[in-house]
Structure formats: structure tokens, C-alpha cells
């Protein structure tokens, strides 16, 4: 299982790095709309400026190649680490580092291109906005129904999952019905679908770009781009909906986590294929229309480091990204500031929560008896079982034949902690250190507990205490 996780993360890392490299450093930079986050102009294509642009482009490309190579080597080293929690932590850090490393070459290139622009005497036309009256609000690639239908289908799957969990309907012998694992999982995918639909709708309503003084060229260019984005959104939504149904079936009727992991991998590969089609389609459109572009809206100065849009004069919240595909926020907009803070907090909390998992895993699990209570403790008290409430207790010396399927909680290489389905018995509370083979099976009015400790003697003494 750990190896599959490592291979998935390694594959994701390489996919992200290659994609970023291809977007930032296309083969024919002269045909692209942007060059290192600065608008590509004819002035960059002649004489000394051309040489300097090529030099900046090449040196930044080299910088990104070196940093990406180093990140890939670090990724390969990750296979040597033992603990799953520490590997997860370092993988996430490594993916963040990959994004930062590629951003560093963009930041450098953007700064150098802006200074080249000043050097060759291009005066900034900050604050000038072009709008085509023919395309304004009239060019779309999506119809609302194309987004609504897959979302409604996903909502129906969610309703089915809830009905199965509430035992209002029964289909075959489900091992996880009643645990609400299927409902939570379906809800997650339903929410993903809603977010994708909302983003697609937002992208479809973005400002239409003016690249030419000919309205027909502007219309065709914007329509082509929106159609490619719409095709991506619709296919992603349907993949998400179909996968939700498959995942619900796997959760309810198939036990092993391995099946789920493989199905998630297939889902991720399909989404990655859609992404590649989107990028390639978009690049073709940019190359095709760059030849016909004769209007240059110079808003480079509003783009901090070529990545962050800050324009207090612009009342829009969403703007098209400069590097890559999609939209970004106007950081000068009040809502944009709030979103930026939320994103920063989310990134920070992901690192903190992973660190916490690492600390938990590093703390030994123990069970102790205190004041007529059996307490399962690791960093904090996980479960407190009143001895008076215990109906029966069993000391199991070999737990290798007992099947445990996680419903919620933690399942790492060294421990299991949370709600599990144990030998087809749902809602069991598990607190187990994997290296110790013996455990206590405790039956209370609250349900079944399977617990042990990092110290085998503690398990036996606890058993003796309860029996007494």
C-alpha cells in the first residue's frame, strides 16, 4: 500500500513539473501571447531585444530544469523513508517546493523581462482597457444545462447513498451500509462536482479578451477558448459523477482499501488526460490567433511577479491567469483579499495537520487504568471506557485473521485509530498499534472496542484488571 502511495505521489510530482515546464517555457515563444508573465510584443522579436529575450528565456529555463531535477531526486529519496506519516508530510512539502521552485524562475524571468521592456523604451500603458462591444457578455461556450445535469445525477447518487446508509433501501449484502462512509464519500465528490461547475460557469463569464480591432477575430478567439474550457469542464463533471457511483459501490460492497486506491488512480489519470487535452487545445488557439493579434493591452504592471493580479481600479474579482489556464483573483478586490487569506491559511493548516499526524505517530500508544476507567492514550485521551459498563472482555493473541476496514480515522503503517468495520461488524472503535499482535476485544453498551498498546505487558495487565 505504501509503495502505491509513493508511486502516485511521484507520478503526480513529475506530471505537475512537466506541465509547468511546458506552460512556462514553450518551444516557440514568439508565437505565444505571454512570455514569462509579460505580454509578448513585436518589439521583443527584433535585433538586440530578441537576443536579450532569448537569453532571459534560456537562463530561466535552465534554472527551472535544475530545480526540477533536484526536486525529482528528493522524490526518489522519499522511497527510502519508513514511516507513512513522515513520507506523506515530506511529499506534500516536496510538491509545495516544486511549485515554489518553478515560481522562482518565473519571478526572475518576469523581473528581467519588465526591465528589458523599460530598456527598449516601451512606456507602460497602465490603466488602458480595451473592450469589444460585439463580444461583451455575448460569447459563451457553455449552456447552464450542461453543468446542471451531471450535478443533479451526482446529487441523486448522494441521495441513494444516504438511503442505503439509513437502511431505507437495501441492495445486496453491503458490508459498510449504516456507517455513513459511503454518504460522506459521495458528499465529497458531489461537492467537488459543484465546485467544478461553479468554476466552469465563472470561467465562461470571464471578460472577453480583445486581441484585434476586428470584432470577428475577437469573437472567434474568445469562443474557441471558452469552448475548449467548456469541453474540459463537462468531461470532468461526467467523470466525477460516474466515479462517484463506482466509489459508492466499492465502499459499500467491496472491502479492501487497495481496490479504492486503484480506482482513485484511474480517476486521477482520466482527469490528467482531460487537463492535457485542455492545455494542448489552448496552446493551439493561442498560436493560431497570435498572428492576427494587433491590439496590445499593456497591463503588465498590474501583475506582481507575473502571478498575482493587483488592480484597485478594476472592479472585477476574477481575471484570466497569465501563466497557465484558468482564472485568478484580483487581490485589490475586498473579496480577493479575503480569499487570499483563506488560501494561505489552508496551505498553512495542511502543513500543520500533517505535522500533527507525524507527532501522533511518533508518540507511543498506551492503555492505562485510572479511577475505574480504561483509558486509551496517545498525545491525548482517545477513548475512556468505564469498567462498570464492560459486558465482556477477550484477550486475542493473534489478530492476523481479523479483517478491519476503516470508516473514519487514521490508518498508518504503525497504527489504526478510529471507527472501523471489524469482521463485518460496523461501528467498532479501534485503537491498535500494528507491531503488537495481541489486543483486547471489549464489549460495552456503547459498542465494540479493539484496543492494545505499544507495550504488550500493558495489554495483559489491563486485561487482568478488567477480569478482576
Amino acid at each position: 500500500m505504501g509503495k502505491i502511495f509513493d508511486i502516485t505521489m511521484f507520478g503526480t510530482l513529475i506530471f505537475v513539473l512537466i506541465l509547468e515546464f511546458m506552460i512556462m517555457f514553450p518551444k516557440k515563444w514568439k508565437e505565444k501571447k505571454m512570455i514569462l508573465g509579460v505580454r509578448n510584443r513585436k518589439e521583443f522579436h527584433d535585433g538586440e531585444a530578441e537576443k536579450e529575450t532569448e537569453h532571459i528565456f534560456d537562463s530561466c529555463r535552465k534554472q527551472m530544469l535544475i530545480s526540477s531535477g533536484m526536486i525529482v531526486i528528493c522524490g526518489a529519496v522519499m522511497f527510502l523513508l519508513d514511516s507513512l506519516a513522515s513520507r506523506t508530510f515530506f511529499w506534500v512539502i516536496l510538491i509545495y517546493l516544486g511549485i515554489i521552485a518553478s515560481s522562482l524562475s518565473l519571478i526572475r524571468g518576469n523581473r528581467e523581462m519588465k526591465s528589458l521592456k523599460r530598456k527598449i523604451g516601451i512606456v507602460s500603458a497602465k490603466g488602458v482597457v480595451y473592450t469589444d462591444l460585439k463580444t461583451a457578455g455575448a460569447v459563451h461556450g457553455l449552456k447552464p444545462v450542461q453543468l446542471i445535469v451531471p450535478c443533479v445525477a451526482n446529487a441523486l447518487i448522494l441521495v441513494l447513498a444516504i438511503l442505503l446508509d439509513m437502511h431505507l433501501i437495501n441492495i445486496g449484502n453491503s458490508i459498510n451500509a449504516g456507517t455513513f462512509a459511503g454518504s460522506f464519500m459521495t458528499l465529497t465528490f458531489f461537492m467537488t462536482g459543484v465546485i467544478v461547475a461553479w468554476c466552469a460557469w465563472m470561467m465562461d463569464n470571464l471578460r472577453n479578451e480583445v486581441i484585434s480591432d476586428d470584432s470577428d477575430i475577437n469573437t472567434n478567439y474568445n469562443r474557441a477558448k471558452k469552448k475548449v474550457m467548456a469541453a474540459f469542464a463537462i468531461s470532468t463533471l461526467w467523470i466525477n459523477t460516474i466515479y462517484t457511483l463506482c466509489a459508492l459501490f466499492i465502499t459499500l460492497f467491496m472491502g479492501p482499501e487497495l481496490v479504492m486506491i486503484i480506482s482513485v488512480l484511474i480517476y486521477a489519470v482520466l482527469i490528467a488526460v482531460c487537463l492535457c487535452v485542455l492545455f494542448s487545445g489552448n496552446m493551439k488557439i493561442e498560436s493560431r490567433y497570435q498572428k492576427e493579434a494587433n491590439v496590445v493591452a499593456d497591463d503588465d504592471d498590474h501583475w506582481i511577479m507575473g502571478m498575482f493580479y493587483y488592480n484597485p481600479e478594476d472592479k472585477r474579482l476574477n481575471v484570466e491567469k497569465r501563466v497557465g489556464i484558468g482564472a485568478t483573483i484580483n487581490m485589490a478586490h475586498p473579496a480577493g483579499k479575503a480569499i487570499a487569506v483563506v488560501i494561505a491559511l489552508m496551505l498553512f493548516s495542511s502543513v500543520v495537520s500533517l505535522s500533527l499526524v507525524g507527532v501522533i505517530e511518533g508518540t507511543p500508544m498506551s492503555i492505562k487504568t485510572e479511577g475505574n476507567m480504561v483509558i486509551c492514550h496517545q498525545l491525548w485521551d482517545a477513548y475512556k471506557i468505564p469498567v462498570d459498563d464492560i459486558q465482556s472482555v477477550e484477550l486475542i493473541n493473534d489478530r492476523s485473521n481479523i479483517s478491519m476496514i476503516r470508516t473514519s480515522g487514521m490508518g498508518t503503517d504503525s497504527e489504526l485509530w478510529g471507527n472501523f468495520t471489524v469482521d463485518n461488524e460496523t461501528g467498532c472503535k479501534v485503537f491498535l498499534y500494528r507491531q503488537v499482535n495481541s489486543m483486547l476485544k471489549i464489549k460495552t453498551s456503547d459498542g465494540l472496542y479493539y484496543i492494545n498498546s505499544a507495550d504488550e505487558d500493558e495489554v495483559k495487565s489491563c486485561y487482568d484488571y478488567i477480569v478482576k
Binding site: V129, T131, L133, K134, G137, A138, S215, N218, R316
Partner: protein, 122 residues
């Protein structure tokens, strides 16, 4: 028709919109009966307040260049009133431009050829 708005210009944005639409109608880029974008769509495209676009449309309607109604939105008028004279405000503006041109050494002939170019030779 492409319009260009300068956020840092001394001319208010609503006037820039109004002026460029008038110029578009005059040189044929906007034809009679042509649909104009809605206030909301144009404001979103330009990244300006809807009130700014609304003010520009209101002005164009008052001056008789466009028609607006709830059903069809804004359209260029089929028949624009032929007053046959320049308003006093425009006369003053033209006077200022000619004065500045004379002071900077532009000849009368150059001004005439420029007027011919903008007006369209018949």
C-alpha cells in the same frame, strides 16, 4: 467595435464610453439598429461600476443616439436627428483645439485635411 478606456485620463470614464460610441456611429463601425451590450455585461467587461455604463447610456439616449427599452436593451437609433448645427459646447471645444493647433504651428491646410479625413471626403 473596440473601445479604449483610460482609467487615468482626466476625462470621466462614462464620457469616454459616450464619446467612442458616438465616434463609432459616425464612422459606421456601429450601424443603425445594432445591438449594444447590456449595462451589466459592458461594466463587467470593462471592470467598471454598472452606474458608470448606465450614465453613459443615459446620456447617449438623451442626445438621441441610442434607444433603450426593457425588452431589446440598447440599440443604435435608425434615424439620428439631423440638427444641422454644432452645439455651443462643441463649438467652444473646437475653438480650443484650433487655438492650440495654431499656437503649436499647425497650418490651416493641415487642419482642413484632418477635418476632411475625420469627416470623410465626399
Amino acid at each position: 467595435m473596440v473601445i479604449r478606456i483610460d482609467e487615468f485620463s482626466d476625462v470621466p470614464i462614462y464620457l469616454q464610453i459616450r464619446n467612442q460610441i458616438v465616434m463609432g456611429i459616425s464612422d459606421g463601425k456601429l450601424t443603425a439598429g445594432e445591438q449594444l451590450p447590456t449595462v451589466r455585461a459592458l461594466a463587467m467587461e470593462m471592470g467598471v461600476n454598472t452606474m458608470t455604463v448606465s450614465k453613459a447610456y443615459q446620456l447617449l439616449k438623451t442626445e438621441g443616439y441610442i434607444l433603450t427599452d426593457r425588452k431589446n436593451g440598447a440599440r443604435v437609433r435608425y434615424e439620428i436627428e439631423q440638427r444641422g448645427r454644432i452645439s455651443d459646447a462643441d463649438k467652444n471645444e473646437l475653438k480650443r483645439i484650433v487655438s492650440e493647433a495654431r499656437l503649436s504651428g499647425v497650418t490651416k491646410k493641415d487642419i482642413h485635411s484632418m477635418v476632411d479625413e475625420f469627416y470623410g471626403r465626399e
